[in-house]
Amino acid sequence: MINVKDLTKYYGNFAAVQGINFNVGRGHIYGFVGPNGAGKTTTLRMLATLLAPTAGEIIIGGVNAYGNPLHTRKLIGYMPDFFGVYNDLKVNEYLEFYGEASGGILEDLRRDIPSLLELVGLTAKRQDYVNNLSRGMKQRLCLARALIHRPEVLLLDEPASGLDPRARVELRNILKELQAMGKTIIISSHILAELSQVCTHVGIINNGLLALSAPVSEVLARVEGDAVISITMADRQEEARLWLLEQQGIREVTLVNTGSLEAVYSGDRLAQAGLLRELASRFTLFEFTPSKGNLEQLFMEITEVAKDAETKN
C-alpha cells in the first residue's frame, strides 16, 4: 500500500531524513519509532504531502504522492502531533466542515458522522462546542476528522502523547478496530511497549536513517534471546535460584528485595514455556512474567550505537 524509496529531506545543509526505504502492506500497522529529532515527523509530513522531499519517491496506493497530491490526500487521513481546532464550532459541525472540504457530500456526512463518533467514543459530545472538550477528547475528535473521508491509510504522529493511561488504552482499542476495518496505519510513538502491542511492523529511525524495518514478531524474536523473567513464589526462593542457575539458557538469577527472582534468560517462547512447566512442578508459583521491554531494549541498543559513533566522530 505504501512504498517509500530513498526518501531524503534536507533543511539547508541539515539532513533530516537520509534515503530511507520501507514498505507497508495493506491492513498493516507500522510503528515508527525514534528519539526526538530523529526524522519521524518529517517523514510523516512528507507522506501526508505536506512537505516536498528533497529526493526519493513515495508511492501510496500505486500513486506517486508528490506527483498527484490531491489524489493522495483522498487516500490518507493525517493526524499531526500538534494540531489546533476551531473552538467556535460544534463537534458535528467540525466534522461536517472537514468532510465537505475533503470532497464529501453533506447528506452522506450527516449519515456517517454518528458511527464515526461512536467509534471514537464522542457520541454524547456531538452538540458540544469543540472548546469544551478535554485534551483526550480533542485527540479523538482529530482522529475522527482524519477518518471522515474514509481514507485507506492513516498517518498518526504521536497520537498518544499527552493522553492519560485510560485514554491510551481506548486509543489502542480504536486502532485495533481500524485495523479490523482494513485500514493501513503508520503510527509514530515514543511508547514502545504500546507499539509492540498494536503494531504488525516496526521501523526504528535515528538521525534520519532507518536503522531497522521489520515485522514486530521478527524484531521480538531477535531480542527475546535476552528476556528478563520476573518470578514470584510462595517460599524457597534461594532453592529456586540455585535450581534455575542449573537450567539451560539461564545466565543469571538475582533475588530482589521484594522476595522475587529475576532471571536473565536466552531462549525462544517454547523453551520459556518448558521452563515454566518445570518450575511450577517443583515450587509454588504466584507469578512468572517475561519482561515486556524487549522492543525498548532493542531501541536503546540501536540509538546507543548511533550515539557512540557520533561521540567518536
Binding site: F83, G84, F97, E100, A101, S102
Partner: protein, 283 residues
C-alpha cells in the same frame, strides 16, 4: 447533474464570524461612526439651507459625497483587520496543515478566505442602507449612484482583501500581517498623494503640466472617479493635460494597476500556502 457547492471554507468562516461578538461590535462602531458623520454633515449644511444658499438636493448630494468617501476609507481600513488573520490565524491555531490535507486546493483556500471577507463587507454595506435612505429623503442622489458606490466599495474591498491575504499567507503572526497590510495601505493612500503633490508642485513651476499624476493610479481612492469623474479629474489631472483619449480616465488606469497588483497578490498567497511549492528536489 451535480448540485453547485459552496466553498466549505466560506460556510465555516461565516458560521464562526457570526458567532463572534467582534463582528457585531465592529458593525455597531461602523454604523455609529458613519451615522455620526452623516448628522454632522447635515447639521453643518442645514445653516446654508435655512439661509437659502443651498437646496435640499445640494445638501443631499454633499452628504452622499461625504458618506461615500468615509465609507470607502472605513472599508479600506477594515478589510486588513478582517483578512489579515485569515491565513496567519490558521497557522497560529495550527490548523493550516489539516486544511491543506483536504481536497481544497491552495487557490480554493485563498478564495474561500477572500469571499468570507467580502461577505462581511457586504454585511456592513447592507447595514448602512438606512443611512442612504436619509440621503434619498433629501434628494440630489439617484439609486443608480448608490448602487455604483456599493459596487466601488466591493471592488476596493476585493483589492485590499487580496493584498492583505498575501501578507497573511506570508507571515506566521497575524499582528505582523496586519501591520504589513496597513503599511502598504498608508503607502498607497498617503504616500502616493504626498509624492504626487510634491512632484507636481515642483515640476509644474518650471515645465507646466507633468505626467506625475500617474502615481495616483496606485491610490485606492482614485477609483472613486468611477462615481465622481469630474471631481477626481479636477483634483488629480493638471489643467488641460490631455493624456487620456476616448473616454479613458485615471480611475480606469487605477483599476487596471491595482487589479494587476491584487491578482499578483492572490497568486503569491496561493503559492505561499502550497507546501509542495516550497521544497527543492534534487532528483
Amino acid at each position: 447533474m451535480q448540485k453547485p457547492r459552496i466553498n466549505p471554507l466560506l460556510a465555516k468562516e461565516l458560521r464562526i464570524r457570526m458567532r463572534n461578538w467582534r463582528t457585531f461590535g465592529m458593525i455597531s462602531l461602523y454604523l455609529l461612526g458613519l451615522g455620526g458623520l452623516a448628522v454632522l454633515v447635515f447639521l453643518s449644511n442645514s445653516y446654508m439651507l435655512s439661509s437659502g444658499f443651498n437646496s435640499m438636493a445640494q445638501v443631499g448630494s454633499t452628504l452622499f459625497a461625504f458618506l461615500a468617501v468615509a465609507q470607502i476609507l472605513i472599508v479600506i481600513y477594515l478589510v486588513p483587520a478582517l483578512a489579515g488573520n485569515a491565513i496567519s490565524g490558521e497557522k497560529e491555531r495550527q490548523t493550516i496543515d489539516l486544511l491543506t490535507c483536504t481536497q481544497l486546493t491552495p487557490f480554493q483556500i485563498v478564495t474561500g478566505k477572500l469571499t468570507a471577507t467580502l461577505s462581511t463587507v457586504i454585511l456592513f454595506i447592507v447595514a448602512s442602507l438606512p443611512l442612504y435612505g436619509f440621503v434619498f429623503l433629501l434628494g440630489g442622489v439617484s439609486p443608480k449612484e448608490v448602487l455604483l458606490l456599493y459596487l466601488i466599495i466591493l471592488v476596493v474591498a476585493l483589492l485590499v482583501g487580496c493584498w492583505s491575504l498575501m501578507f497573511s499567507a506570508f507571515f506566521r503572526r497575524t499582528v505582523a500581517a496586519i501591520i504589513a497590510s496597513y503599511a502598504l495601505l498608508i503607502l498607497m493612500l498617503g504616500g502616493s498623494t504626498i509624492l504626487f503633490t510634491l512632484l507636481t508642485t515642483i515640476t509644474t513651476l518650471n515645465q507646466g503640466t507633468t505626467p506625475f499624476f500617474l502615481i495616483m493610479a496606485f491610490n485606492p481612492l482614485t477609483i472613486l472617479g468611477w462615481l465622481f469623474p469630474d471631481f477626481v479629474r479636477d483634483i488629480i489631472i493638471s489643467i488641460n493635460y490631455n493624456w487620456f483619449r476616448g473616454g479613458f480616465q485615471i480611475w480606469h488606469l487605477a483599476l487596471l494597476v491595482q487589479g494587476a497588483l491584487a491578482a499578483l497578490s492572490l497568486w503569491l498567497a496561493t503559492r505561499a500556502i502550497n507546501p509542495l511549492k516550497m521544497g527543492k528536489r534534487k532528483g
